[in-house]
């Protein structure tokens, strides 16, 4: 079968691309739309480094076909900061040294933003279980969890 | 003369000696001296060894100075992860 033409919205921008039916959304974001913020750590939905939001739902973009997103809304890490100011989570992750190598950071930030939009006051355990599908091998998660809980508190105060 | 301590696994090549004396001013001299004294050790030394001088481990340099009374040990080459 020849390539499929897909129209979708990524971080608020209209996009169109051609993809083989077997190519995943992750492949399309990276290789066709040059949005390389989502990373492939496993290709099987076990590591979360490719997390994006698809029509409001947090998903692994490696477990969605490019062809499936026709007419849908996608939010990636590249859409998380507005203009030049970073999202509070992005600021706090740097401040708390909540990242080392950084390969898992985009996926964790996208997943955490989705959590705080749903639950602005999560407990440590709720954050840890929400992020169970976002593997990190460098940090042992400690500083990541502290940065998230602190950001959530700041955002609650600010709102 | 410098006293060079070998690890026990090398005793087979040095007629059972753990310590051999070598004329040396630096690590390069030590390695050449040990190989000359016991040619069978040459291949192991060329395969890579580290040398400890007075408690400090020299991983590969041959120009490091050595005093006549320094505590010198041959060690397996150190690499890391």
């Amino acid at each position: 079968m020849s390539n499929i033409h897909v129209n979708a919205t990524v971080n608020g921008d209209e996009v169109g691309f051609l993809c083989d039916p077997r190519e995943t959304l992750l492949d399309c974001l990276r290789d066709k739309l040059s949005l390389t913020g989502a990373k492939e750590g496993c290709g099987t939905g076990d590591c979360g480094a490719c997390s994006v939001k698809l029509s409001g739902r947090l998903v692994c973009s490696c477990l969605v076909l490019g062809a499936e997103v026709e007419g849908q809304e996608i939010e990636t890490i590249e859409g998380m900061s507005r203009d030049e100011n970073l999202h509070p989570l992005q600021e706090k992750f740097i401040e708390y040294a909540a990242l080392q190598c950084g390969i898992c950071t985009p996926g964790i930030l996208v997943a955490t933003k989705a959590l705080l939009e749903k639950n602005p006051d999560p407990t440590e355990t709720e954050v840890r279980y929400w992020l169970a599908g976002n593997l990190c091998r460098c940090t042992g998660y400690d500083k990541i969890i502290r940065a998230i809980l602190d950001t959530a508190a700041d955002m609650r105060e600010a709102s | 003369m410098v006293q060079v301590n070998l690890w026990a696994g090398l005793r087979r090549f040095t007629d059972g000696h753990d310590v051999i004396e070598v004329e040396a001013r630096n690590i390069g001299d030590i390695l050449k001296g040990v190989s000359k004294a016991y040619p069978a050790l040459k291949e192991i030394i060329d395969g890579g060894v580290s040398v400890s001088v007075d408690g400090r481990i020299i991983s590969s340099g041959v120009t490091e100075p050595v005093n006549q009374d320094s505590e010198v040990f041959l060690l397996q080459q150190l690499k890391g992860g």
């Binding site: 492949d27 990276r30 040059s34 390389t36 913020g37 989502a38 990373k39 750590g41 496993c42 290709g43 099987t44 076990d46 590591c47 990636t76 590249e78 998380m80 992750f93 740097i94 401040e95 708390y96 040294a97 080392q100 190598c101 950084g102 390969i103 930030l109 440590e124 840890r128 279980y129 992020l131 599908g133 593997l135 091998r137 460098c138 940090t139 042992g140 998660y141 400690d142 500083k143 | 690890w7 696994g9 087979r12 090549f13 291949e43 192991i44 395969g47 890579g48 580290s50 408690g55 400090r56 481990i57 991983s59 590969s60 340099g61 060690l75 397996q76 150190l78 690499k79 890391g80 992860g81």
Partner: protein, 752 residues
């Protein structure tokens, strides 16, 4: 280059926690990792791998694959250098690497590469790989270390053993190490209690989330570019050049951001293949490993089989320690048998100690370093027996370790006398920590363990260029795997007396600097840090010279303080201090660009000790373990950037938890890897772990101007034993095999 002239202790910038220079790129997704680069006309490579553990290759038929539309080239071993010859032992490392990158006449493990294809898309390349027809003659295989040493085991490579191996051992034993002092038999006579036990650990993988990836471009003129994720691009340059018959200087290698390495990205796998495919197609070629390929065909750590015997008096004094360590490191020499043996008893001052290390080959992937290679396994065995002795003699585990702890002047188990070391300080800190005094509930256990790793210098070349606006650019050759760009900039700020924010540290490519050793052995903050301090002092000498010339006074009469050249001695007070910026502003007219340099192999690295405390709970009905509390206490000599030192402590502990409880390479009887993915190779999740508390002990290393010790690796050494001791106490039964999975714990409980 002996010890440095003066060691600082009061710091202005060092010890603060500024933001990392790569922070914004990483939190916005802009940071470029190995797979994030593209090139015009780029092809995609895919590798044909053996499904068999051991087989002779009778034929490779690529005709059908080459006929597939979009396929541009196929390479096999014939496309690589023929000048590299096999010799025994590790000094045939180039040959071993080449044989591992692309098999010759035999495939030696499940996943061994034997051909590769370049095509116009990744999908076509993957489809083409499935069309390659390989005819194999299956050979007998062995994957267990003890079986590989037994009589009758299949020989992996004739002539591989090096000179160290005594006669009479199986040909799979390729290296032998033995050391120790005193007489252990005498020591065992003096003991009130002797405990002997055997331990096993399975192979584990570094588990970096970023698979290996590279983009290569190589012309028939021998000139090439390689962009890849690596812990050592200078070594990759040297090795790739050798494997492809190039001159080293004709190949430029650029290190991308690295998505985790932990020792597993210190050697090449796909990079020479991409270069070979690029040379054959005259087009850039990108190869990205799948997660399955990373598990099957990169460099997990060795698996071990160990026997320990320790004698102890009623008062806790260890009278004798003996250990035999058998490690298999895949189908090539290199298993760290010697290192394991050297580390085993290093934390303890023993009158009588004896250790033997075997390095063995088997039909598994070529092992690579995994964070203090060998030391975690040795600690698991030794510290478990010490724990058992403490329980039997009803002694406090920290007191016993303090009584026997190595300190300055102790004759190390591996030979030399220790200089300043911080083990006693770590144990004291552990004893007084609230964690050690906190009460435990029923079904819970607390485990203690010490850990040790070396540190070393290695070739280092750094350049520090000053800009006319008074800011500083440092080029280093050691990829940043632990936050070293920040700590290097902090050390430069300390020397130059200008704020951290005016300094940028960049990892430069191989065309920019002299040779740099790989980022491993916890050496970067130590060696590159020391080199940066020297380069800064070199730049300061040149700045003072410009000031002296401006003031018309002798160079020696100018000193550098708080970022300013100041007249001193007889000329003190004659002139206003000159800021760095005021000198560099006109440097073009006063003699040209000012660049500080340092190129040498620094020696004088100091070892790093640690003590960990772990609380664990075991569900007696299912054998499942939960880690309740974790505290890491480690000697950093001097913490340059405390947040990133803590990060190394926490990361090593987390990897240790995975290794102790769930991670293992599972091979079937057919010699095939059964869990080549993150589903069944289970690394710790956010929901598995508690917060990991850290205590940074600082016993300065005299071999570094600021006292720095390398900290990156020791943090993985204590967890295996500390968790085993906690689990054994909680479950009431001693576990001697890792991982301590629920089925194993339940079986041990039932056997009680």
């Amino acid at each position: 280059m002996a010890l440095d002239d003066q060691n600082k202790s009061n710091f202005k910038f060092v010890g603060t926690r500024p933001k990392r220079p790569d922070g914004i790129d990483k939190v916005t997704g802009r940071a470029k990792f190995g797979a994030d680069s593209y090139a015009a006309g780029m092809l995609h490579g895919a590798i044909v791998r053996s499904p068999h553990a051991h087989a002779r290759i009778k034929s490779i038929d690529t005709s059908e694959a080459e006929a597939l539309k979009g396929v541009k080239a196929v390479v096999t071993r014939a496309d690589f250098s023929k000048d590299i010859k096999f010799t025994s032992g590790k000094d045939s490392e180039d040959w071993n690497v080449l044989e591992n990158v692309m098999a010759d006449d035999r495939v030696l493990y499940d996943g061994h590469a034997l051909a590769a294809i370049a095509a116009t898309s990744a999908l076509i390349a993957r489809d083409a790989v499935k069309l390659v027809k390989v005819e194999y003659e299956i050979l007998p295989h062995v994957t267990d270390v003890d079986e590989a040493m037994a009589v009758g085991a299949p020989v992996i490579r004739k002539g591989a053993p090096d000179k160290s191996v005594p006669p009479g051992l199986h040909e799979n034993v390729v290296s032998y190490y033995e050391s120790g002092h005193g007489d252990v038999e005498v020591g065992f006579q003096e003991a009130d209690l002797i405990i002997e036990n055997s331990f096993k650990t399975e192979a584990t993988h570094q588990g970096y989330i970023e698979p290996h990836a590279c983009l290569a471009s190589l012309g028939s003129d021998g000139k090439g570019e390689l962009w890849c994720t690596t812990q050592g691009h200078f070594k990759f340059q040297k090795v790739c050049a050798a494997l492809l018959g190039l001159e080293t200087s004709q190949l430029r290698v650029t290190a991308s951001e690295i998505g985790g390495g932990f020792g597993g990205k210190t050697t090449v796998f796909i990079e020479p293949v991409a270069l070979a495919l690029s040379r054959k197609t005259n087009r850039p070629v990108k190869i990205v490993m799948s997660r399955t390929e990373v598990f099957r065909a990169t460099g997990p750590t060795a698996s071990t089989s160990m026997d320990i015997k320790i004698g102890m008096k009623k008062d806790g004094t260890i009278t004798a320690g003996q250990g035999t360590f058998r490690l298999q490191g895949g189908a090539f020499p290199g298993a760290p048998g010697g290192m394991t043996a050297m580390c085993a008893f290093a934390p303890y001052a023993l009158k009588n100690v004896h250790q033997i290390g075997y390095s063995v080959m088997s039909n598994r992937p070529k092992q690579a370093a995994y964070r203090a290679p060998g030391s975690p396994m040795a600690a698991f065995a030794v510290e478990s027996v010490i724990d058992a002795l403490c329980k039997k003699l009803d002694l406090d585990p920290i007191e016993v370790r303090l009584k026997n702890a190595s300190r300055k002047g102790t004759k190390a188990s591996y030979g030399p006398t220790f200089e300043e070391i911080g083990l006693v300080e770590c144990l004291e800190a552990a004893k007084s920590h609230s964690h050690y005094k906190a009460p435990l509930k029923a079904g819970q256990g607390r485990g203690i363990s010490c850990g040790f790793w070396f540190n070393f210098g290695g070739e280092t070349a750094v350049s520090l260029a000053l800009s006319e606006d008074g800011t500083v650019q440092i080029s280093v050759g050691t990829p940043d795997i632990g936050g070293s760009r920040a700590s290097i900039a902090l050390m430069a700020a300390e020397e130059l007396g200008i704020p951290y924010d005016h300094i940028r540290c960049t990892v430069a490519d191989t065309a920019t600097l002299g040779y740099n050793e790989v980022s491993h052995g916890s050496r970067v903050t130590y060696a590159t840090g020391l080199a940066t301090i020297k380069a800064a002092r070199d730049a300061i000498r040149k700045l003072c010279k410009r000031a002296a010339e401006k003031w018309g006074i002798p160079e020696e009469a100018v000193k550098w303080e708080d970022g300013h050249a100041i007249p001193s001695g007889p000329n003190a007070g004659d002139f206003e201090p000159l800021s760095l910026k005021s000198i560099t502003e006109k440097m073009g007219k006063t003699g040209g660009p000012i660049v500080g340099h340092f190129e040498a192999t620094p020696e004088g690295a100091g070892v790093s000790f640690a003590t960990h405390i772990v609380d664990a709970e075991v569900d007696p009905e299912t054998g499942k373990t939960q880690i309740l509390r974790y505290t890491v206490i480690q000697d950093a000599g001097k913490a340059i950037h405390p947040s990133y030192v803590e990060g190394q402590f926490q990361g090593g502990a987390a990897q240790g938890i995975g290794w102790a409880l769930n991670e293992e390479y599972i091979y079937g009887s057919d010699g095939r890897l059964q869990n080549a993915g993150f589903l069944d190779y289970r690394i710790p999740l956010a929901s598995d772990l508690p917060m990991i508390d850290t205590v940074i002990v600082e016993v300065p290393n005299p071999g570094h101007p600021y006292g720095v010790r390398g900290v990156g690796e020791t943090s993985i050494c204590p967890p295996l034993a500390a968790i085993a001791n906690a689990v054994s106490q909680a479950a009431g039964v001693r576990l001697t095999e890792l991982p301590m999975s629920p089925p194993r714990i339940l079986a041990a409980l039932k056997a009680e």
